[in-house]
Amino acid sequence: MTTVTWTADEIMTVTAARSLRDRMACFVGIGLPSTAANVARRTHAPGLWMIYESGTLGAVPDHLPLSIGDGILAETADTVVSVPEVFNYWLQPGRIDVGFLGAAQIDRYANINTTVIGDYDAPKVRLPGAGGAPEIAASCREVVVIMRQSTRAFVERVDFVTSVGHGAGPGDRERLGLTGAGPMRVITDLGVMEPHPETRELVLTGVHPGVDVAAVRAATGWDLAVSEDLALTPEPTTEELAVLRELTGSA
């Protein structure tokens, strides 16, 4: 029996990949989401239909794209549409099953900040901004968030709501007219959080092997609730790791 070793980032990416089911339509952001989606397509979800906001529909890149507008996406896509079309004809009507997002900050209700740390008019850190995220968070049937966990990133209330998660709790998405279900999983290097079905507050529902619940709570800026039914993330398989490392060039 061989011992498989893996990093925290690797189990995060693999766990995110496993959130995708075969033949789903997935709106993919660059970075961790793109890596996870490409791992999924090469393992259990060969029919995953990836959409990048640059307008490539159904791309099957043979390497990890370097940006959301990489040439390999256009070359391998079922079709390439304009940016207005990808947002208006594909995202907005709710045709996309899952949106994959990253974040600089996320809060108790899975609201997402990618705009500023600190005050908007005198920011401590100026972040890139919204990009496609507000409408991905609004209109995809569900959203998966991938990000590393720390008290800096997991805060009671985000400094700026770039993309709405579950607002201030139950009924907020409906009140705001957001058609998708919002963030249904937040996957980090420590574990997995999901919104409580009633309170919509993020609850720790899974930890990765070797991670202590106390460590996850310590890396969270609010009093993180823990599911009674806490799962232990299955370890990455040899195949998943091989695929991931080939993609990222860390084999």
Partner: protein, 278 residues
């Protein structure tokens, strides 16, 4: 119609103009941006969905008074340090910002291209963007009573795009990821297109976008004019240049040296060596 880049920028881009340089990762009109820096334009309202290093350069050079955008970063690398420095420390000049989402920006261009004063979308709802941007309003569907977002049309004084080819009449052809270029061009008062080459006839290519000559003000042949971004079918993205920018952009002195070097370059000879040919 076919004019050298320095002449085209001199005639079409004026101090205080609203200028959009578009190209979604692909076909970014970098050489045209450099020429604007070289000619020392000031007080521009720069518009772009995804300001990246050429906008960092324009901002660092002090060309811009305002930036209208939806995502600003060095893609795959990190932050835009000149942009951050302008926003947080007003260096070299203060920079006003107006930010949207991609969907909002795309629809602003669509409204501009369509001769409509505004566009409607499902967007922004519940976000803090609304409170910080007076250009996001709500509108009620007259049939269903649903509340939706409204954004005003974007009509740049000048839109600049880079394309693979133009013919001698000024018809422009671009393909691969075509992004928002068609709408950005159709929304503008004046349109400058830099191209890899001018040809006699535009052989049709699958996925092409054609900008008919009558919506194009000037075409400037600038081979390699999109580098370090890429031109589908011509050259690849120079990722090292994106990474190298991080160190230059991070430091005011290094940036100033870069700027001086740019100023010393002849405007039309520089672009040729750029780009890694396919």
């Amino acid at each position: 119609m076919i004019v050298p880049l320095d002449e085209a920028v001199r005639e079409l881009v004026h101090d205080g103009d609203t200028v959009a340089l578009e190209g979604f990762t692909h076909l970014i009109p970098v050489a045209a941006g450099h020429e604007i820096i070289r000619q020392g334009r000031r007080g521009l309202t720069l518009v772009r969905m995804t300001p990246d290093i050429v906008y960092d350069q324009l901002i660092g050079a002090g060309c811009a008074a305002k930036l209208v955008f939806s995502w600003g970063g060095n893609p795959g690398v990190g932050s835009l340090h000149r942009f951050r420095d302008a926003v947080t420390s007003s260096w070299p000049v203060p920079l006003e910002i107006e930010e949207h989402s991609h969907a909002g920006m795309a629809n602003r261009y669509v409204a501009g291209a369509s001769g409509l004063p505004f566009a409607v979308l499902r967007g922004y709802s519940g976000t803090d963007l609304v409170a910080h941007n007076p250009h996001i309003k709500s509108i009620t569907c007259p049939f269903t009573g649903q509340e939706l977002a409204a954004v005003p049309a974007l009509n740049p004084d000048v839109t600049i795009v880079h394309a693979q080819r133009a013919d001698t009449d000024g018809n422009v052809q671009l393909w691969g990821i075509t992004g928002i270029q068609k709408e950005a061009a159709l929304a503008a008062e004046r349109v400058l297109v830099t191209v890899e080459e001018v040809v006699d006839t535009l052989d049709p290519v699958p996925g092409q976008v054609i900008l008919p000559a009558r919506v194009v003000t000037a075409v400037s042949p600038v081979p390699g004019g999109a580098a370090p971004s890429y031109a589908h079918g011509y050259y690849e993205r120079d990722n090292d240049a994106y990474k190298a920018w991080d160190a230059i952009g991070r430091d005011r002195a290094a940036f100033t040296a870069w700027l001086e070097e740019l100023a010393g370059e002849a405007p039309r000879t520089r672009p040729q060596p750029a780009g890694r040919a396919l």
